[in-house]
C-alpha cells in the first residue's frame, strides 16, 4: 500500500492536519520529515495511506497550510507527488 507524506512547515500545522483528517475518518500519523526532504530543515509530516486527494482537499477546506506531498517508494526514497 502506498504511503503518502504531506509536509508542513510546523509541528502544530501537522497536528491540526492530523486532527482534521482523523475527524474525517482518514488515519493520519504525525512524523518528522526525513533529512533532506524539507528544504528549510527539520520539518514535520502527516502520513496517510489512502484517499490522498481527499486528504489534501480536506486540508485546503480547513485552511491548513501545507507543503509538498511525497510518496515513499518501496526502496525508501521520497518522490514528490503533484496533485
Amino acid at each position: 500500500m502506498p504511503q503518502y507524506w504531506i509536509s508542513f512547515r510546523s509541528l502544530t500545522h501537522a497536528q491540526r492536519a492530523a486532527r482534521t483528517l482523523e475527524r474525517n475518518s482518514i488515519t493520519a500519523i504525525v512524523s518528522r520529515l526525513p533529512q533532506g526532504v524539507s528544504p528549510k530543515g527539520c520539518g514535520y509530516a502527516v502520513i496517510v495511506r489512502r484517499q490522498i486527494r481527499e486528504a489534501v482537499r480536506l486540508l485546503e477546506e480547513a485552511q491548513i497550510p501545507r507543503g509538498m506531498v511525497f510518496e515513499k517508494t518501496e526502496r525508501g526514497d521520497f518522490r514528490e507527488v503533484k496533485l
Binding site: 512547515r9 510546523s10 509541528l11 502544530t12 500545522h13 497536528q15 491540526r16 486532527r19 504525525v30 512524523s31 518528522r32 524539507s38 528544504p39 528549510k40 530543515g41 527539520c42 520539518g43 514535520y44 497550510p65
Partner: protein, 373 residues
C-alpha cells in the same frame, strides 16, 4: 490552614494536576525536537492542551493558543506587538504593573480611562471618549485588587467599531468568567495558568487573533535553516524548550474548569463573596464591595486602626493566608484612593469551603475588635 490568596496563585488545585505533572516528568521529552515516542507523546499532550484552551475560550484555531511562562510574559508579548515609542494607548484605571510597566518601557504615551471603582458606566463612557485618539488599548477584565469586573464586552465592542486593537488582561477572569475570544474580537487575551485555570506556576497563555512579534528568539523545532523565527503561530512566539510538565498540569487544570464550567465557578465564588460581606458586616473596617454581579470572588478591605501588613501578619499567625499592600497595582489604588494605605485582600477559589471562610472572618473580626480595645 485557610487559603484566601487565590488571586495570587491557586494553591488549592485538583489532584489531577499533580498526577499529570508527575506523569509528564517521567514519560515526556521535548515536543518538536525528536521523532521518538517520548517526544511525540509530549507533542500530542501540548497540542491537546491548546485544543482544550481553545474550547474553553471558544476559539476556532488552537494554533492561536500560545504558551507562555505566565500572564506577565503573555502581556509583554502582546504589548511589544502593538507598542512603539510615542504610540498612544488607553488603559483602564485598574491595570496591574504587568500592563503599565511594559507600556512605559516601550515609550508609549499612556492615557488612563475609567477611574471610578465599581462604576461600569463611567468606565465605558471614559473609554469611548479616549478611543478616537489612541493607537491601541489595554484593559483588565477583573481588577486583581478589588475584584471589579470591568465592562469588558462593551469595551471590546467599542474597540472593534473604532478599529482600535485591544489587549485584554484576563489574569483574574480566566476560568471564572465565560470568555469568548472569537466573539469579543480582541487582538490578544493574556492570562496565567496558575490562577483560575488551576494549573501550576510557570505557565501562562496568550490568545492571538493575528500574528504577533516575538519577544524571544531561538529554536522552534522546525524550519531550522531559517535565521528568523517562523512566521506562523504558535511556534513564532514559543522559542526554546517548553515547560512540558507545566503544560501537562495546565491541561488537567483546564479540564477541571471545563467540567465544572466557569459559570458555576463564578456563582460559587460570588456566593462566598456575599458570605464574606455578611460575616464582616460588624467588623471595624472599610470594605470595598459593590455586592452585585460587577464583582468577582475578590474583596479588599482596610482598618482605620491597624495597617494592612500587620493585619495580614496577625492572620498568618492563625494560619489564614491573605495578601496585603499594593498588589502590584498602584494604579488601581490611585483610582480607589487607597495608595497610601494599601489594602488587605481576600480572594476565593472553588476549593474554599463556606466553613473555612466563616472561620477566617471570625478571626479577622476578633483581630479587628482587639485593635479597638
Amino acid at each position: 490552614m485557610i487559603y484566601l490568596d487565590s488571586a495570587a496563585t491557586s494553591l488549592l488545585k485538583p489532584s489531577a494536576v499533580g498526577y499529570a505533572m508527575a506523569d509528564a516528568l517521567r514519560s515526556m521529552a521535548s515536543p518538536g525536537r525528536g521523532g521518538h515516542a517520548p517526544s511525540m507523546l509530549a507533542a500530542d499532550m501540548v497540542f491537546r492542551c491548546r485544543e482544550k484552551a481553545a474550547e474553553l475560550f471558544h476559539m476556532a484555531r488552537p494554533d492561536h493558543v500560545v504558551f507562555t511562562m505566565n500572564a506577565t510574559h503573555a502581556l509583554n508579548i502582546a504589548i511589544a506587538s502593538l507598542a512603539r515609542k510615542g504610540k498612544r494607548v488607553v488603559i483602564s484605571g485598574f491595570e496591574h504593573n504587568a500592563v503599565a510597566r511594559p507600556l512605559y518601557a516601550q515609550g508609549c504615551s499612556v492615557k488612563v480611562a475609567g477611574r471610578k471603582l465599581f462604576d461600569p458606566e463611567d468606565t465605558a463612557r471614559s473609554f469611548r471618549k479616549e478611543l478616537t485618539e489612541v493607537d491601541f488599548a489595554v484593559c483588565t477584565v477583573v481588577s486583581n485588587v478589588f475584584g471589579y469586573i470591568l465592562p469588558y464586552r462593551e469595551i471590546c465592542e467599542m474597540c472593534r467599531e473604532s478599529g482600535v486593537p485591544l489587549i485584554l488582561d484576563a489574569s483574574q477572569a480566566a476560568g471564572i468568567l465565560d470568555l469568548d475570544f472569537d466573539a469579543l474580537g480582541a487582538a490578544f487575551m493574556a492570562m496565567p495558568g496558575h490562577k483560575g485555570l488551576l494549573g501550576p506556576q510557570g505557565t501562562g497563555i496568550l490568545l492571538c487573533r493575528d500574528r504577533a512579534h516575538p519577544l524571544l528568539y531561538g529554536g522552534s523545532g522546525s524550519e531550522s535553516r531559517l535565521q528568523t523565527m517562523p512566521e506562523d503561530l504558535p511556534e513564532r512566539l514559543e522559542a526554546g524548550t517548553q515547560n512540558v510538565c507545566g503544560i501537562a498540569g495546565l491541561l488537567a487544570g483546564i479540564d477541571t474548569v471545563l467540567s465544572k464550567t466557569p459559570d458555576a465557578i463564578f456563582q460559587y465564588e460570588h456566593a462566598l463573596l456575599r458570605l464574606s460581606i455578611r460575616e464582616l458586616q460588624s467588623a471595624d473596617c472599610e470594605r470595598f464591595t459593590i455586592g452585585g454581579n460587577h464583582q468577582s470572588g475578590v474583596i479588599s478591605l482596610r482598618s482605620p486602626r491597624v495597617d494592612c501588613e500587620t493585619l495580614a501578619d496577625r492572620l498568618s499567625e492563625h494560619k489564614i493566608c491573605v495578601r496585603s499592600g499594593l498588589h502590584c497595582a498602584p494604579l488601581a489604588h490611585e483610582s480607589a484612593s487607597t495608595l497610601e494605605t494599601g489594602t488587605l485582600r481576600l480572594s476565593f477559589s472553588p476549593y474554599l469551603s463556606e466553613g473555612e471562610l466563616r472561620e477566617a472572618c471570625r478571626v479577622l473580626r476578633h483581630i479587628l475588635s482587639d485593635t479597638v480595645s
